[in-house]
């Protein structure tokens, strides 16, 4: 396996752009990543594209705006983990020697409201009203509250922290400070989860340029090395299904630490998949950053703040930065790249050398560890 580096990243503003075609949204993120890396599109040997709602051959439509150079352009759909899987494929293609310079991009335009398309129209799940992701996470949160004493205030503090971080991120969808009271008093979605504790629907795009490390010096972009990837889907477990993939996330985090030769204590900054505020607490635990059941207390004590022991979701996370499901994974990568280069501005974690991204989708999950 060859060493691989990220040499450029770029985003399109996260928000709602109903009148903007997906080609324009995706193009801007790719352009920003190419400029950041100092790479001409002529040098790109393959592209891997994550997206969920944009339709057939969306990757070709978005990427080939930069030139019909004949490269393979692969579309990847893994629900909320689409673009982290695209990133993984780009990483492996270079690591295994197929290509030297690869583009990976995630772009998304979402309908408002609950996620749709998980089951066929007319399915039992749809007819019985079972397809409600916030309700699934609410049930898991209620269980966590009972089993470990996590409080609804602690869950609200995740939303408070992530909105505070998002306020410092010009790409974030919601740049507003909120208080614990405002979070708890916002519209109830599925108790205990309120509106501000649920990630929004979002339009946006994110891109990264990857290069075999030995040739990264040819380009101006400051390289950030990919230390490990772990990718997978749930393994059978007796009783409660691993539908929200917390057991899977635990397994992938362990694999990623082993492959990188480090442990959770060596991570300076992490992006966790905070699709719901309670999920960040549970993922903090299953990734080994704190003991099981203590995630809520860690958030309450500020240990996950910028400046804390393990800063989590420094860019605002899914809750504040937004969650364009096909573009979220690469937005996490972009934030970690900026953090490790020391370019994160007012939300910079001092002296960050090792970062992690954890992205979970209903189609699978990824953990990536990056380092400088």
């Amino acid at each position: 396996m060859r060493e691989v580096a990220v040499i450029g990243v770029g985003l399109h503003q996260f928000g709602r752009f109903p009148d903007k075609p997906i080609e324009d949204i995706g193009r801007e993120a790719i352009l920003n990543a190419l400029v950041d890396a100092g790479v001409s599109f002529k040098d790109i040997q393959a592209a891997y594209c994550g997206r969920v709602y944009p339709g057939m051959m969306a990757g070709l439509k978005v990427v080939s705006q930069f030139g019909q150079t004949g490269i393979p352009i692969t579309n990847i759909e893994q629900a909320c983990a689409s673009s982290s899987t695209a990133f993984r494929e780009a990483y492996l293609a270079i690591a295994e020697g197929r290509h030297d310079v690869v583009l990976t991009v995630g772009f998304e335009k979402m309908p408002r409201g609950l996620l749709t398309g998980m089951t066929e129209p007319g399915s039992l799940e749809e007819a019985m009203g079972l397809n409600v992701p916030p309700a699934w996470h609410a049930m898991l949160a209620r269980r966590h509250m009972l089993d470990y004493g996590t409080t609804k205030e602690q869950i609200a503090m995740v939303a408070v922290k992530n909105h505070r971080n998002g306020l410092l991120n010009p790409y974030a969808q919601y740049r507003m400070a909120v208080t614990v009271e405002e979070v708890l008093n916002s519209r109830m979605i599925a108790d205990p989860l309120t509106l501000y504790e649920c990630s929004p629907t979002t339009d946006g795009a994110s891109a990264a340029i990857l290069c075999v490390k030995e040739k990264a010096g040819k380009y101006k972009g400051k390289p950030v090395t990919i230390a490990a990837n772990a990718c997978g889907t749930p393994m059978f477990q007796h009783g409660e299904d691993d539908e929200l993939m917390m057991t899977l996330t635990e397994r992938l985090a362990k694999q990623a630490y082993e492959r990188a030769g480090i442990g959770p204590k060596d991570i300076d900054v992490v992006q966790l998949h905070d699709c719901f505020a309670s999920a960040e607490i549970i993922r903090l635990e299953v990734c080994g950053f704190c003991p099981k059941g203590e995630g809520g207390r860690w958030v309450e004590e500020g240990r996950t703040d910028i400046g804390g022991e393990i800063p989590v979701n420094t860019d605002g996370g899914l809750l504040s930065r937004g969650h364009p499901i096909g573009a979220t994974g690469l937005a996490q990568i972009a934030e970690i790249v900026w953090q490790l280069r020391g370019e994160a501005g007012p939300r910079q974690v001092p002296n960050a050398k090792v970062g992690m991204c954890q992205n979970t989708g209903l189609g699978g999950a990824n953990v990536h560890i990056l380092k400088v």
Binding site: G113, G129, N131, V132, M139, R143, R187, A190, H238
Partner: protein, 156 residues
């Protein structure tokens, strides 16, 4: 050992219309029994792997645990324990249940959790661990006027 999948694999979740002149039809075939007599309790139809013993609901033709294709049909108990629940204020498009309603996960004695909707339940009193019982409920009429029946759980 040569391993071949049988054709029944394609029949896992048939969603066909029920033939005959029934006045009640299930929302989906093969999920639960629809007893003629009110005295007979309905049951959820599950699969048990004859190789490893794992139980699945809804029924499956291949065991998710050991991948064997050696399943037998079993009926789940009529009662289980409330594993967790929430009152959802949102329903997906196409839902026949109108919000707010209680979504729940029921831990069955056979070692399988069933996702369902709770009915007849006092929200001030319901608690994780409570005993819950399977019930059938009409959720709509189809185009020929028959009752379309779904399963829910209610506190015992």
């Amino acid at each position: 050992m040569t391993f071949t999948y049988r054709k029944e694999l394609s029949l896992v979740r048939e969603s066909g219309k029920t033939a005959g002149k029934k006045t009640r039809v299930p929302v989906e075939e093969g999920l639960f029994t629809l007893p003629e007599s009110p005295a007979e309790p309905p049951r959820l139809i599950a699969s048990r792997c004859k190789q490893c013993g794992e139980v699945f609901f809804p029924k499956r033709m291949v065991c998710l645990k050991c991948t064997a294709m050696d399943m037998e049909q079993v009926m789940l108990s009529t009662r289980g324990k409330l594993y967790s629940f929430t009152i959802t204020r949102l329903a997906p498009p196409g839902s026949m249940v109108k919000p707010p309603y209680v979504l729940a996960s029921i831990e069955m004695p056979e070692g399988v959790n069933v996702h369902t909707v709770l009915t007849d339940c006092d929200l001030d009193k319901v608690q994780i661990g409570d005993s819950m019982e399977l019930v059938l409920e009409t959720i709509k009429q189809d185009e020929t006027g028959r009752d379309v029946v779904a399963f829910k759980f209610k506190p015992v």
